[in-house]
């Protein structure tokens, strides 16, 4: 065909053959339509590209918005974190203020105790002293009723003196640090029993003192525990022709439990929860004197040692007080002993 066309061109220089002419037009048209297809393809490609671009753009926008969201979240988180750290700072500040307040109130309590001990005892001594002098120097000249009134003043002052001293002692316990050492409890009990000799005067009292353990404790405080428990036992056996007071130990899984048992008037177990409360008394003042501070003090001392105290009693059938002086390394045993105590 190429040679044909060359021939046609050569021939047209001289004369145009109409058939060749038509062929040429057809060829051009054909070329043109091919071009058109190519243009359309290009157009299509461009269109595709544009479409891709739009997609990319929207993806980019999404990424952008996601980034923005992230930034926003980050801001919120940061604000939250700042809030938390501000809260923390505020808490720390509140704690500091509370600690200062506690220290201040501790100092105040100390000053208060001091002034109770000094300023309250002084006028009490004066009332006691002068009413005593009045009764001694002018008593014989007074009517019996006046003498009785005077006697009540003296007695009232004495009670208040004991109460003030007991309360001060209880208040001091809170601030006091334990001075621990390993001590045998038998010498402590013997000392207390000896101190109580005068209170036993004219009474028939049988002391049964068993073998007691060696424990790590503050001996001067443990002495107070026995002083209170034994003088209670002595007091509440007063109506008995023969008082029997037994001090001994039981062992509960390696933890010694010390007990003080008496054959006194006892108490009803329904009031046992009041037993160790300050100012709680289970007997009338006329029957058995007391301030209601003793057992509260005992409990405070026992708890300071990490121990526990409880009682078993029956009305008119005597009472038994049990206590442990917990050793820190025997916490588990101690807990078991305490549980046994709860069951008891």
């Amino acid at each position: 065909m190429t040679s044909g066309l060359a021939r046609t061109v050569l021939a047209s220089e001289f004369a145009v053959d109409p058939e060749d002419h038509a062929k040429a037009i057809l060829n051009i048209l054909e070329d043109f339509s091919e071009d058109k297809v190519r243009v359309e393809q290009t157009q299509h490609a461009v269109f595709n590209m544009l479409q891709d671009f739009a997609e990319e753009k929207s993806r980019l926008e999404e990424t952008q918005s996601a980034t923005l969201n992230l930034l926003e979240d980050f801001d919120a988180e940061r604000a939250k974190a700042e809030g938390v750290s501000r809260d923390l700072r505020e808490s720390v500040e509140l704690l500091r203020v509370a600690k200062e307040a506690a220290e201040a109130s501790n100092r105040e309590l100390e000053a208060f105790s001091y002034s109770v001990s000094h300023d309250l005892r002084a006028p009490l001594r004066h009332i006691s002293g002068f009413s005593k002098l009045l009764s001694e120097e002018y008593g014989p000249r007074l009517e019996p009723e006046a003498q009785h009134h005077l006697q009540r003043i003296v007695e009232g002052t004495r009670c208040m003196g004991v109460l003030v001293d007991d309360l001060l002692n209880l208040a001091r316990l809170g601030r006091r640090d334990l001075s621990l050492q390993v001590a045998g409890l038998n010498p402590v009990v013997e000392e207390v029993v000896a101190d109580l000799k005068t209170e036993c005067a004219g009474r028939n009292v049988e002391w049964r003192i068993g073998g007691l353990p060696f424990v790590e404790c503050d001996p001067s405080l443990v002495k107070q525990v026995f002083q209170n428990l034994l003088s209670n036992a002595l007091k509440f056996t007063r109506p008995r022709p023969q008082a029997v007071i037994e001090i001994g130990q039981r062992n509960h899984q390696g933890t010694p439990i010390v007990f003080v048992r008496d054959n006194g008037v006892g108490f009803s177990m329904k009031y046992s929860d009041k037993l160790f409360g300050v100012f709680q008394r289970l007997h009338r003042q006329e029957d058995f004197e007391g301030t209601g501070v003793g057992l509260a003090t005992v409990q405070r001392i026992v708890q300071k040692h990490g121990g526990r105290i409880w009682a078993e009693a029956e009305l008119d059938q005597g009472a038994t007080f049990y206590f442990t002086l917990g050793a820190p390394e025997k916490t588990e045993l101690k807990t078991k002993a305490a549980m046994a105590g709860e069951q008891a």
Partner: protein, 157 residues
Amino acid sequence: MTQRQVEILLVEDNQDDVELTLHALQKEKLANNIHVARDGEEALDFLFCNGIHADRSFERPRLILLDLKLPKVDGMEVLKRVKADARTKAIPVVILTSSKEERDLVTGYGLGANSYIQKPVDFDQFRDTVKNVGLYWLVINQPPVAELSQHSATAGS
């Protein structure tokens, strides 16, 4: 002017306590001549012959009964000055006070107090306490006589 030897210097600001203490001491006939100082400053003036006691010739009381809470100069300061001075440090000082504060006890003994006694509320007990203190320090206890008279001679001349 002759001056009778003061056996007891009672340093006490409260009039009621002064009366009750004197009553207890006199009842036991333990001291004939008791001087009462109503605050710490007066106690020091008396001991060292200053102020209102400037015309007194120096002489040691045999015993000082000292309250702690005192106007002007408190009891601890009086104790400190008494124990710091060679002329007075041998005088027994018995702190006789209302309070039984642990820190007072520690400070008192630290400064050289010879006894620390809390005044009992009950008057019978108070009387017994005062009697025992007087009996112990004025009758039973032996003061260092030679040392006392030597100081007395130098200070008094």
